[in-house]
């Protein structure tokens, strides 16, 4: 599956080309279904989510900007958002954007920063700069669409600790990726 093909198909779908839509579905549905199922952990819910995902792709294809986003990443984001919204509706969690917002200390020492500079922009290299349990929490949050509460429980740490872990990890990743 070549990115530019997918990109072209999305362009055609934005012109409401149904044949292109069928081909796009054929090429991407198994991946997006895998995403829905992993996050929702229920086949019939995943199937329902998949329908919503493709209806959204049909409706929003004109918002895809080729130069800004990798096309598969764009499709995957729609699927992840749909599945995560369903999961959050099913297992509600408290609002926490402003909770324990404690990330004001320096991100890394100059030595760390020097090491990072040679790591390049790859997320994999940057993930290795995180402590293993935090890197795992970041990855798990993304792959399984878990909330802070669920992550805290799985990792056996207090909720606030998990928030701090992920927020600091995000800043470290951002800094690392920007080098």
């Amino acid at each position: 599956m070549v990115g530019s093909d997918i990109s072209y198909l999305i362009g055609r779908v934005s012109l409401k080309d149904r044949k292109a839509f069928a081909v796009l579905y054929e090429k991407s549905a198994s991946k997006l279904f895998g995403i829905c199922l992993r996050i929702l952990r229920d086949r019939s819910e995943a199937e329902e989510a998949l329908q919503d995902v493709y209806v959204k792709i049909w409706q929003r294809a004109d918002r895809y900007v080729e130069s800004e986003t990798n096309p598969m990443a764009w499709l995957a984001a729609i699927a992840r958002n749909q599945a995560i919204d369903l999961v959050r509706a099913r297992r509600p969690v408290a609002s926490d954007i402003d909770a324990a917002y404690d990330i004001a200390d320096p991100l890394m020492t100059p030595e760390e920063a020097v090491v990072l500079r040679s790591e390049g922009r790859r997320i994999d290299g940057c993930m290795e700069t995180l402590e293993p349990d935090r890197a795992l929490a970041v990855r798990r949050a993304y792959i399984e669409g878990l909330s802070y509460e669920e992550l805290a429980e799985i990792h056996g740490v207090p909720l606030n600790t998990m928030r701090t872990w992920l927020r600091r990890s995000l800043l470290k990743l951002r800094e690392c990726m920007s080098r």
């Binding site: 149904r18 408290a94 004001a104 909330s147 951002r174």
Partner: protein, 244 residues
Amino acid sequence: MTAPDKEMRDPRRDEVIAGEYVLGVLSAEDRRNVEARLAKDRQFAAMVNRWEENLSTFNDDYEALQPPPRAYSAIEQRILGAAPPDAAFSGKVAGGFWNSLALWRSLALASLVTSIGLALSMSTLLAPRPMSGGRLVADLAGENATINLVARYDEANGALRITPVAAGKEKEKSLELWLVEDGKSPVSLGVLPQTGEGELAVPAVMRGRLVQGAVLAVSVEPFGGSPTGAVTGPVIASGAARFD
């Protein structure tokens, strides 16, 4: 370092929230708040976009799994309501053109009035009294429509030609016709005459490319056509060519 001031843009805090949104750890309520902000804050939207791109490497962890065939039928049913099946050159519509109910509704009254006028003049005025040079023309306009139709009557052979032209003040916009081929950038076939007069002559070099399956699309461009040679305005209609 000072504590984040909520009234000021705090890039670190925004980066974290954008990242949290993409990771998926936020509550439903916070997700809605983030999305509301995405719609009006481009800088913030760029942060979210960047996280999506950066973290998309993790997508490799998702196993592909074939959904049951009924899933596609259900999707097709749901989008069917939004677009009719292919028809020769009438094609499908982005934002409303040939198949747009709103457009046809808004045009209906104008065209009804105009066609009555035309019918009258043709039957009673034109037939007995040959036109001296001028041609009968009617501009069919609808409120808020992207296009108008120009009807030109050729008294010599009784043909009434209806041509779409860009709506709006004269000399403001043009409709440009494009040929879209698989995997290539759209190529201009020309600008639809704003007067509604004449046809588009397909350039000789392009003729071999106008084949079954080629897509024709119409976009709204600055007057005179796209200044760049590429589509710059909204595509208001498109459709694949086939033999009828």
